[in-house]
Each structure stands twice: as structure tokens, then as C-alpha cells.
């Protein structure tokens, strides 16, 4: 270690049209440290790192690598300067092998054979040095996301990267995989590599970084030693005001059974069983949280309950069976029966991004007599007024009903969907990934709304891949794995470790 920083950025600015993504940012990252960069969505973290990796060109500012002023006009220059980047969305060729992906762009000569054999030897060496074992002949599409991420890290190491940037690396990982990743990062640090970790998760920052820089609205608001700060302080630096990290809620007072699911099965178009006999119950005035790694049947569960996927089995709503395959198994009928649905993917299922806020508020409820002038025409004025009122109550910013959905931030988009669904006064609210891509300030608000709905005596089925969210909101937790419920736990009587094992398919004692 020396006193010269591995990376020093001085006065970096970058604007996309009128949006100032980075404003006069300076940062020093020391050799052999793990340096966290934390900030809300849109704070400019990824832009800053993309400038460092040559993906964008900064409008102003200088980059120093190991004390040397360096121009990084493209990714090739970044690679030559010893910088490697693991993007949030992996840049891998799915039907290539691990080996081919590692070699791509860093071949040894124009013939492929010698490059591949050399890479094979070197991968083995890297695997031994850093405990990064991956089958070089496996196809990317056949291996899990945890493995794919290792391939990305190997790609960087194969190119002799000394500085590794990871952008939101744990978003797609199970808790166990995330732990593994952190062990790999520790190992890389021991070997003298410098690591920049971009994340919006406070827990990760506290767990693994040595130093942390906080970004807010394109500016660097602070750089502190991790050991000298705390999650509430970081949250305040990120948001600009005090934030309640814990969900404040009273104990649940469950009433009668609202939703009863028995032996629910779903087979998708490819003939794959997505739900393999799921049974559970949600009572009035309680939140049942469904935990699990994405893709273990939670989406299909929401779809079948929401009425846009067919299934077999029994679903009782207030004691009455729902039609699962026939003419009445559609979203319209489900809504009429008192099921409101905040879908997992708000940009594709919850909203039409090019529609205005008021048009989106009508989605699914366009037959509401209150929105009609007569049999032929809709009363758009009433709809707009209603939307404006909803936007005020749910603190949507800006409260402009005529703005297209795509022009709101993720958190405000989610508030529009929530307002539309919650204000229908449903008996049962289905809510998937309520805070995915939502910033901390809005998360607090959304969580409060969900708890408030529960306290009105409504039943809530919450699906989330964020374990923290599940643990702090749920009154009961069910864990899904491979289309089955692995077990049910009470939040007070379990912990992340136990839930993580259930999420990985390791069965506990029957619930």
C-alpha cells in the first residue's frame, strides 16, 4: 500500500440533456481497500462508474490512475489502465461457454484455438488463486446467476484488472450467494486488488467496505470510514433528511380467513411445473410475506391469484371459490370480487409507460360508473380530478395527472399504482416487489401505506425478494422454493440465516 490513491477523480461533471447526472465529483479510492459508493436510484453512481470505465465521456474533470493522469475515452482504455467492471446486468453471451466469454475481446491472436487453451490454463490458475471455481466448458445459459457473476469477475481478472468495480452485485443473488461473493471480494482485497462496490443497500456497505462515499442528486455528499459511521447516518446523508429504517407497526390482530389457497398448481406453456401444490391462508388484518429467490413460483402465484394465469386447485376468497380456468378467471372478475393487485413489474404490468398518470389510474377500472359520462363517453375530467386527489393523498411528485408514467421516478410510479389499487378498498391486496427500484424515502412511505391497510383489517399477500422487507413487514412468512412452500415462520422466531436456507431449498422441520 502506498499513499497514492488507486483512483482519483477530480471535478467530474456529466449532463444528459438538462439532467445533471454528476456534478463536480471528486473522490479518492485507496489501494487494497473496498470502497463503497451508496446513493439512491438516480443519484449518479452508475454514471460515475461508467465514466471511469469509458462508457461515457465526462463533460469536465480529470481521472488519475495510480497518480497518473489518464484519459479513458473507451472501454479498451479502461481495461488497459487495469480497471475491470462487473455490471448490474451481466454482459455475457448466453450461448457461449464460460471460456469463450472470458476470452472474447482479449484473444491472443487471430486463431481461436491457442487463445482458448491459454485462457483455460490461466482460468485454472485464477480459480486456485482466488477460489473462483467455474466449469470453463459450461454454457452461460446453463449456469446460475451466482456463477455468471463469477464469470464476470474472472473476465476482469483475466484482463489483469487491479481495480474492480461492481455495480449492485447482490441484486440478483440469494443471501448465501451474496455471502459467497463477499468472501471472494475479501480474498481479492487480500491479494491487493482495489474494489469499488456500488450499492443502495446499507447492510452491505456496513458489512464489507472500508470506506464509503455517499451520493445524492449527482453530488458526492460525504466520504467516511465505514467503522466511523452508522446506517441511520448514511441513510440521512443519502436522502437528505432523517429516515425511519424500521417499519413502525403494532402487532397484527388477524380476523376471519380472507384467502385460502389449497394445493394450487400451475404448469407454464413449456410444460414446466411452476407451482407444485401450494397451500396457505391469509387472514383479515395480517400481512403474509412470501420470501424466495426470484423465479421460484412467486410470480406465477401472483398471476394466478390476479386472474391472468390459469391453474388447478382451490382458491377460496371469503369462503367462496374462485374460478381458476373458466370464463370468470380474469382480472376484471377478480377485481370485482375484491382483489387488488400491485404487480411485481410495474413498468410492464402495472403501468403503461407512455400513458399519462390519469390514463393509468383508469387501467382496470375504466368501467367504474364514476368515470363515465354516459354509455359512450368517459368522463375524463372526473378521472383527472380523481387522479389528482389520489396523487395528493399518496404524495406523488410532481402531482401532475397529465404527465406520462415514464416521466415519474420509480418510487412515484409505484405510488401511482398503489393509490389506484389501495383506494379501491379491496378485501385482499396482492403486492409484488413493492419497493424494487424505489428510493429509501419512498420505501418508508410505501411500507407505511401497506401497514395502514393491514390495520384497516385487510388481508395482504406480500411477495418480495428483499429479505429485509419481508422480515420487517410480514406478520407471518412463507418461503417458496421451486414452486413449493418450504415452510412458514413467524418473523420474531426466525432469522435471515434460517430463511436463507429455506430459500435455497434446504427443508426445515415442517411448519
Amino acid at each position: 500500500m502506498t499513499d497514492t490513491p488507486a483512483i482519483e477523480l477530480v471535478g467530474i461533471s456529466k449532463a444528459f440533456g438538462p439532467v445533471q447526472a454528476n456534478k463536480d465529483i471528486s473522490i479518492r479510492v485507496m489501494h487494497g481497500t473496498i470502497h463503497g459508493i451508496i446513493g439512491e436510484n438516480g443519484a449518479g453512481k452508475s454514471t460515475l462508474m461508467s465514466i471511469l470505465y469509458g462508457f461515457y465521456k465526462a463533460d469536465a474533470g480529470e481521472i488519475f490512475i495510480n497518480g497518473q493522469k489518464t484519459q479513458i475515452p473507451d472501454s479498451q482504455a479502461a481495461i488497459s489502465a487495469g480497471i475491470g467492471m462487473v455490471f448490474q446486468h451481466f454482459k455475457l453471451v448466453e450461448n457461449f461457454t464460460v471460456l469463450e466469454n472470458v476470452v472474447l475481446g482479449a484473444e491472443d491472436g487471430w486463431r481461436l484455438g491457442p487463445s482458448l487453451s491459454k485462457a483455460r490454463r490461466q482460468l485454472k490458475q485464477l480459480a486456485d488463486d482466488y477460489d473462483l471455481n467455474v466449469d470453463p466448458d459450461a454454457r452461460i445459459e446453463d449456469i446460475g446467476v451466482g456463477m455468471q457473476q463469477r464469470v464476470e469477475i474472472l473476465k476482469a481478472l483475466y484482463r489483469d484488472a487491479n481495480i474492480l468495480i461492481l455495480d449492485e452485485p447482490t441484486g440478483v443473488l440469494t443471501p448465501a450467494e451474496a455471502d459467497q461473493l463477499f468472501r471472494i471480494l475479501e480474498r481479492l482485497k487480500e491479494e491487493g486488488k482495489t474494489i469499488i462496490l456500488i450499492t443502495h443497500k446499507l447492510r452491505e456497505i456496513m458489512e464489507i467496505t472500508d470506506t464509503v462515499s455517499v451520493m445524492r442528486r449527482g453530488q458526492m455528499t460525504a466520504t467516511v470510514k465505514t467503522s466511523e459511521t452508522s446506517p441511520p447516518e448514511l441513510a440521512e446523508l443519502m436522502v437528505g433528511r432523517k429516515v425511519l429504517l424500521r417499519v413502525d407497526k403494532k402487532p397484527a390482530a388477524p380476523g376471519k380467513s380472507v384467502l385460502e389457497v389449497k394445493d394450487l398448481r400451475v404448469v407454464d406453456v413449456k410444460g414446466v411445473q411452476r407451482l407444485r401444490g401450494v397451500s396457505f391462508e391469509v387472514r383479515a388484518g395480517e400481512i403474509l410475506g412470501i420470501a424466495g429467490v426470484a423465479g421460484n413460483g412467486q410470480s406465477e402465484l401472483l398471476e394466478v391469484l390476479g386472474g391472468y394465469e390459469k391453474g388447478t386447485g382451490t382458491i377460496l376468497l371469503n369462503g367462496e371459490p374462485l374460478d381458476l380456468t373458466g370464463a370468470a378467471s380474469d382480472g376484471q372478475t377478480r377485481r370485482a370480487r375484491g382483489i387488488a393487485h400491485v404487480p411485481e413489474d410495474r413498468q410492464h404490468e402495472g403501468l403503461i409507460m407512455n400513458f399519462t398518470a390519469w390514463e393509468n389510474v383508469a387501467l382496470g377500472y375504466h368501467n367504474d360508473p364514476k368515470y363515465q359520462t354516459n354509455a359512450l363517453f368517459m368522463n375524463n375530467a372526473a378521472l383527472r380530478a380523481d387522479t389528482e386527489a389520489k396523487m395528493k393523498r399518496f404524495d406523488v411528485r410532481p402531482p401532475d395527472p397529465s404527465l406520462a408514467a415514464k416521466n415519474f421516478s420509480g418510487g412515484n410510479q409505484q405510488k401511482i399504482v398503489l393509490a389506484r389499487e389501495i383506494e379501491r378498498n379491496p378485501d385482499l391486496l396482492l403486492i409484488g416487489q413493492p419497493t424494487r427500484g424505489v428510493d429509501i424515502g419512498a420505501i418508508e412511505f410505501i411500507h407505511q401505506q401497506i401497514v395502514a391497510l393491514r390495520d384497516q383489517g385487510k388481508a395482504i399477500l406480500l411477495v418480495s425478494v428483499e429479505l429485509d422487507e419481508i422480515m420487517s413487514l410480514s406478520d407471518r412468512i412463507a418461503v417458496m422454493f421451486d414452486g413449493r412452500i418450504m415452510g412458514e415462520r413467524l418473523p420474531a422466531e426466525t432469522n435471515a440465516g434460517e430463511l436463507g436456507l429455506l430459500m435455497a431449498g434446504v427443508a426445515g422441520e415442517a411448519a
Partner: protein, 320 residues
């Protein structure tokens, strides 16, 4: 026996332009650029080859002119779909319309023969080449006649097309260029972040496509026929695209698919054979449409799952 040999001979000749166009499309589509304009490029190349061969009396100059014309259209397609990120289908369709009109217009302006070029003779055409030992081996049972009658005695462009099959395989799967080219058709972001130019690779692929379409067009007017006539490609560019899907974007499968289409086209030329073998008369029109019917069947997806390159048809935009 002679009937079968002539049928196979015709199959090989008729497969050649399909194969060249199919390999052209293969390079382009493997790099993520859909090219519905194979037809137009072939047509322009057919015209220019015939025109220059007629004017200079040298078929090689004709070939070069054909390749040049095809490359110009490739450059237009590249500019529209790579540089300006336009819609690749629309650009391809525009190229086909342009080719269809401009060939007849120029033929009329240059030669005043109703939109055709003069008939080519002598050095204005590609001659048949007799392969070594063709006569010596003719007497060997089965292999002999096939070698001497079918394989030997084709024009050089037929052998060029056949040689391009292993060559394409080798380039695509055994070289650095091929790895990058396939990668850019699957996930251009992976290539970009690896520090390799997406635009450069895609232009290279489109240029290879242009050269091969140029050879295909030249073969049509100077090898298969003796001169250019209006719309002489007759949908071969589209058939090549169907063959490409049938071949699942692989060079060797492309050869087999094109041989099958060529065989159907050859059969359509010999309705008498069916009558003699099956003892009933089949409408020649029905035989003529067979390749097109097969095309539709293939495009409708009746031949199993063909997975196109994943980034095909999508202009590459760096994601924010």
C-alpha cells in the same frame, strides 16, 4: 441413370446462387443485422456483371462490377441500420425496391433491349471447368458418373460457393473474428464492454454479405444464364433466407438446405421425369411453386425450433 445425373447436375447449378446468398445472410445475421435485401443485392450484381461482361467481353470484370454494386447496397444497408440505427427490415425492403427499378432502368438506358442485357458469349460467360481425372474416372461405377457428370463440368463459381461452406465454418468457429462476430449478434453489449467496436464488426459482416451476394448475382447472369433479364433473381434472396432459418444459421446445414431447394427447382424444370416415373402428369405450375411452398412451411416454423441470434434486428444503443 442419365436422367438422375442431369437432375443432380441441375440441382448443383441451381443451388449455387441460393448457397452464396444463404451464406451471405448467415454472416450478416450472425452479426445481428437482418438482411431482407439479399434479393436486391443479387439483382443489382446480376445486372452489373452481365452489363460489364457484355461491354468489356471479360466476365471477370463483370464479376468485380457485380460485387462492387452489391457492396454499395450493403453500405447503404449498413449506414441505415448500423450507423443511423434504423429499422433493418425497412432498409432491406427499400434496397429491394431500388434494385428492382434501377436494374431495368439502367439496362434500358445502356442497351435499349427492353430492360435486358445482350446475350453473353465466349469470354463474357463463365465456362464449365473439367476437373482432373473426370474422363478417366467416368467408367468407375456410381462414383465415376457422379464425379464426371455432376461434380465436374461446373463453372468456377460453383466450386467457389462450395468452398465457402467449410471456409465460413472455419472463420466463424475457429477464428477470433468469428467469435467476435457471433458475440455481436448475440449480445453486442458484451462485445462493447470488452473493448471491441460493435459498429466495426457489424460493418465487416455486412461487407462480407455484400461480396457473397455479388458473387451470387454474377453467377446468375454469367454462369447459370447468359445475360440479365428483368427480375431474374425470382425470389432467390427470400428462399435463401428461408434456407438460412432451416439451416439454423450454420454453414454446413446451409449447404444441405440449399441443395434441397435447388433440387426442388431442378425438378420443376423436368415435369417429364415425374410423368415417366410416376405415370401421371403433374402441372408444371405446381412443380414451380414447390420451392416457395417449402419456404412458407419453413418460415411458418414447421421445421422445429430455430433460435435466431438473440440481438438480431436490434440496433445497438449503449444503455443508460
Amino acid at each position: 441413370m442419365t436422367d438422375i445425373l442431369t437432375l443432380l447436375d441441375a440441382t448443383l447449378r441451381l443451388s449455387t446462387p441460393l448457397l452464396l446468398a444463404c451464406l451471405a445472410g448467415l454472416f450478416s445475421e450472425r452479426a445481428g443485422i437482418f438482411d431482407i435485401g439479399l434479393e436486391g443485392k443479387m439483382l443489382v450484381a446480376a445486372f452489373l456483371s452481365a452489363a460489364f461482361a457484355a461491354m468489356t467481353g471479360n466476365v471477370w470484370i463483370g464479376l468485380l462490377a457485380g460485387i462492387g454494386g452489391s457492396l454499395i447496397l450493403s453500405a447503404i444497408h449498413g449506414l441505415a441500420s448500423i450507423t443511423f440505427r434504423g429499422n433493418q427490415l425497412i432498409s432491406g425492403v427499400a434496397i429491394n425496391f431500388l434494385a428492382s427499378g434501377i436494374t431495368v432502368l439502367m439496362a434500358q438506358a445502356w442497351f435499349q433491349q427492353g430492360g435486358r442485357t445482350p446475350s453473353l458469349t465466349g469470354n463474357g460467360r463463365f465456362d464449365a471447368i473439367t476437373l482432373p481425372f473426370a474422363n478417366a474416372l467416368a467408367g468407375v461405377p456410381v462414383i465415376g458418373p457422379i464425379y464426371s457428370e455432376v461434380i465436374s463440368g461446373q463453372t468456377i463459381l460453383v466450386y467457389v460457393a462450395l468452398a465457402f461452406v467449410p471456409l465460413s465454418w472455419w472463420v466463424l468457429f475457429q477464428t477470433r473474428f468469428g467469435l467476435r462476430l457471433r458475440a455481436v449478434g448475440e449480445n453486442p453489449a458484451a462485445v462493447d464492454t470488452a473493448g471491441v467496436s460493435v459498429v466495426g464488426l457489424r460493418f465487416a459482416a455486412v461487407a462480407i454479405c455484400g461480396v457473397l451476394c455479388g458473387v451470387a448475382g454474377a453467377y446468375l447472369s454469367t454462369g447459370l444464364q447468359a445475360g440479365f433479364v428483368k427480375e431474374m433473381t425470382a425470389g432467390r434472396g427470400y428462399i435463401a433466407l428461408a434456407a438460412l432459418i432451416f439451416a439454423k444459421w450454420r454453414p454446413w446445414y446451409a449447404l444441405y438446405a440449399c441443395l434441397l431447394f435447388g433440387f426442388l427447382q431442378a425438378f420443376a424444370l423436368r415435369p417429364d421425369l415425374i410423368e415417366r416415373w410416376l405415370h401421371f402428369k403433374v402441372q408444371t405450375q405446381l412443380l414451380d411453386v414447390m420451392p416457395y411452398i417449402l419456404t412458407i412451411i419453413i418460415l411458418a416454423g414447421f421445421v422445429g425450433k430455430a433460435i435466431p441470434p438473440r440481438a438480431g434486428g436490434e440496433p445497438y444503443v449503449k444503455e443508460r
